[in-house]
């Protein structure tokens, strides 16, 4: 009970409304312990009143309610992704239990009957990604969610989904600290290079990395459109920190979002019993798809190289054309999606330094920038959101205009820095990294970047726990 007295005393110091204090305490004592709630509220009240009577105006910080202009919600990344899946018309979600991804599937399970979504717990992640791929081929929007160890098992299935040009699935990868079991309940941005290359051979896939809870919502929604338009798997690359951090924000705009199901060959557009070229060569690389159950739309598909009908062939000319057809869909996506979606740029055009980062470090970087500004360091921030197709032109422009570049990443090797160098030939000047499984704090952004540029330290490793 000492802690409750101290809690009451602390709340008095910051002049917080005691009614809220009492409510919070009562919520902590339910069921058999309910009777203890009253007792604790009284204890807190003693602490509260003692401070009020004896320490008038003794503390500089006050916590008062602020009036809100818009309705707000408290939301986590897993909920934002889940709600976006409902909004996008996703009918089928699969998963195998894994931290920290399971929360998303449980959220969907909790609401599935209100939206006619089927959520299936599979026997492993191999099955999870393939059930979702099977459902996508049949014509529903399908997805799965996992973390690094599970995504390792999905590499094979993702290759098949991509090779057979399935209109999905959307794979949400909630990264945690690896390798292997790693730090299973902690955060990291260590899977970027893996998701770009998982699977043998050249496997076209889209990879999108939201930076906050709001981007989780809109990027998830877009992912389903892309999966069907470009007929390839889409990986939404989030992490533990985004998954489970609560954010207070206004309700997202969701009514005006546009569903785009891509090119579908319907019964009326097909001959009665003719053969359907599911993999017809087209100028864009995208072939109209039929869905099983459609008369006249019968197609075959295979993970072997195949002809326009989906039958196996090792013909040399066909192989070259098919590779180009599939890979070209990434170029198409790159052309059709505006640069403004692929990157975010914050701060003045000209600055002393350009911070480069991606994903969940966004919030800490935006906060840390204010501290740097206050310290006389003028900076801007390039947030890369699309990893595949990679926004080569936009990133080249921002990075080559920079006075100095500082890479900030929640991993050991600076994986985005390597990707930028691979795609643009430009290396980052400084790197501020953190790989102890904890997210960056605002302070660390300030301290790390200052250390890099003031002392010329090429690589700064942050370690706040």
């Amino acid at each position: 009970m000492t802690n409750t007295v101290a809690f009451g005393a602390s709340m008095a110091l910051i002049d917080y409304d005691f009614d809220h204090v009492a409510e919070a305490i009562e919520q902590g004592f339910t069921g058999r312990k309910a009777a203890l709630g009253d007792l604790n509220v009284k204890a807190a009240k003693h602490g509260y009143e003692y401070v009020k009577n004896n320490f008038k105006d003794g503390f500089a910080y006050k916590l008062h309610p602020i009036t809100l202009d818009t309705k707000r919600m408290i939301i986590r990344g897993v909920q934002a992704v889940g709600i976006a899946k409902f909004r996008a018309g996703c009918a089928f979600q699969t998963y195998y239990p894994i931290t920290p991804a399971t929360d998303e599937s449980e959220y969907l399970e909790h609401h599935e009957k209100d939206f006619n979504m089927v959520v299936v717990q599979a026997e492993d992640e191999i099955s999870a990604v393939l059930m979702a791929t099977g459902a996508a081929h049949i014509g529903v929007r399908a997805s799965t969610s996992t973390s690094g160890p599970g995504f390792c098992l999905m590499a094979e299935g993702m290759g098949w989904a991509s090779h057979t040009e399935a209109p999905g699935p959307v794979i949400v990868l909630w990264q945690r600290a690896g390798p292997s079991t790693g730090l299973p309940t902690r955060t990291e941005q260590g899977d970027l290079q893996f998701v770009l290359r998982s699977g043998h051979g050249d496997v076209p896939r889209m990879v999108i990395a939201p930076g906050d809870v709001q981007e989780c919502f809109y990027d998830t929604f877009d992912s389903f459109n892309y999966a069907e338009r470009f007929q390839m798997p889409v990986v939404l690359l989030a992490d533990k920190f985004l998954a489970s951090s609560y954010r207070t924000m206004p309700i997202f705009m969701s009514r005006d979002l546009k569903i785009d199901r891509g090119q579908i060959a319907t019964e009326s557009s097909l001959g009665a019993e003719g053969l359907f070229k599911r993999y017809a060569f087209t100028p864009t690389g995208v072939s109209p798809r039929s869905t099983p159950g459609t008369r006249g739309g019968i197609f075959h598909t295979t993970g072997d190289e195949h002809d326009e009908f989906g039958h196996i062939t090792e013909n040399s000319e066909n192989r070259i054309k098919m590779m180009q057809k599939r890979m070209n869909k990434l170029n198409l996506a790159s052309e059709l999606i505006p640069d403004a979606k692929k990157t975010n740029f914050f701060g003045p055009q000209k600055a002393d330094l350009t911070i480069v980062g991606w994903g969940s470090t966004k919030g800490a970087i935006l906060d840390g920038m204010q501290d740097l500004e206050a310290d006389g360091i003028r900076c801007n921030f390039l947030q890369v959101r699309y990893m595949s197709p990679f926004p080569v032109e936009a990133v080249t422009k921002y990075v080559s205009n920079a006075t100095k570049t500082v890479l900030v990443e929640n991993n050991y090797s600076g994986q985005l820095g390597d990707l930028i160098r691979e795609k643009t030939g430009i290396a980052m000047d400084y790197r501020v990294l953190k790989y102890n499984g904890r997210p960056f704090s605002q302070n660390e952004i300030f301290e790390g970047i200052k250390e890099a540029i003031k002392n010329g330290t090429k690589e700064v490793v942050m370690a706040h726990a």
Binding site: M73, A91, S127, L130, A142, P292, G297, I298
Partner: protein, 309 residues
């Protein structure tokens, strides 16, 4: 008017001459034809191996998937469109080796589809290595030494895993196989049809002659129909746990009968709620309209936001 030829494609077939797969392919096409299932309402899924090419020879929607992975993909497909007739095919290496986990997981779910295993005891496409059903101690043509691991019993495994229709047939008895396949397709729930299949190229033990019993003193065929001995594998009262256990036990016992006499036919059959039924229990609309035909693209998610505010 549908004809048998409507279930065939013009794709070149490169199976070895005399392969048991031809018998299974014919039986699948005949079963679909005799059940009057329209080709566009059927989807066939396969894994990797000689049997993996089967969908390319059948004029229905066809998915040639990954090694051991036909069942998860078929499961996703069936759950997305419950109006489809779904058949999965694959070899014993595909199903009971690399795909063993999915084989067990699938039985537990009891999704309404049929799984046909081309069971020949060898990995034919990779030139004859021992596959999961090859009994311990046997050495087929291209093996360097006899197998030192136990062969799996597909029927006993299937019954333990929860398949609600478990049968065995023979690739070279197309008439019997066709009838078993029809019963399996009509069955509501997951059906395993284990098809003893000759591989004339690599399995020089379980040959056509061996199955015909020509090496036995009696010269009597090894295969006999299990129902001819008065065996009845069908559960009459699914809610009677004692009967269910008794039917499972007798089926498992008979499935181990191997050597001079090998039973074929339906070993176990029970009517239990399918996975689709279980989903519909908590979401009635699922049974009324298949997911793929539902309009899910104008969902109002505001209540979900409201719930968080």
């Amino acid at each position: 008017m549908l004809e048998l030829k409507n279930y065939r494609t013009q794709v070149h077939n490169d199976w070895c001459p005399g392969c048991g797969d031809f018998g299974i392919l014919s039986a699948v096409q005949m079963a679909l034809f005799e059940l009057k299932l329209e080709p566009h309402n059927v989807a066939i899924f396969s894994g990797i191996g000689c049997s993996g090419k089967t969908p390319h020879f059948v004029n229905t929607y066809g998915f040639h998937t990954l090694h051991g992975r036909s069942l998860p993909i078929a499961t996703g497909a069936k759950l997305a469109n419950t109006d489809l007739t779904v058949v999965a095919v694959g070899g014993d290496g595909d199903g009971f080796g690399i795909g063993a986990g999915h084989f067990v997981g699938t039985g537990r779910r009891n999704v309404d589809f049929t799984y046909v295993v081309f069971d020949n005891g060898v990995y034919g496409l990779t030139k004859g290595q021992a596959s999961p059903t090859l009994p311990k101690g046997l050495k087929t043509k291209s093996m360097s030494f006899p197998s030192i691991v136990e062969g799996i019993n597909p029927l006993a495994t299937a019954i333990s895993a929860g398949y609600t229709f478990v049968a065995r047939s023979y690739a070279l008895d197309v008439r019997h196989l066709k009838e078993i396949l029809k019963a399996a397709i009509l069955h509501k729930g997951s059906a395993l049809v284990d098809v003893l299949q000759t591989c004339p190229t690599y399995n020089d033990i379980n040959t056509k002659e061996w199955y015909s019993g020509s090496d036995l003193p009696s010269k009597a065929p090894r295969l006999y129909k299990i129902e001819d001995t008065g065996f009845d594998g069908t559960v009459k009262n699914p809610s009677d746990a004692t009967e269910v256990n008794q039917k499972k036990s007798q089926a498992i016992t008979r499935s181990f009968e191997w050597g001079d006499k090998i039973p074929i036919g339906i070993f176990y059959r029970n009517t239990e709620p399918t996975f689709e039924d279980m989903i519909a229990n908590r979401m009635p609309s699922y049974k009324q309209v298949p997911l793929v035909k539902q309009d899910l693209y104008n969902r109002d998610v505001t209540p979900l936001f409201e719930e968080l505010s």
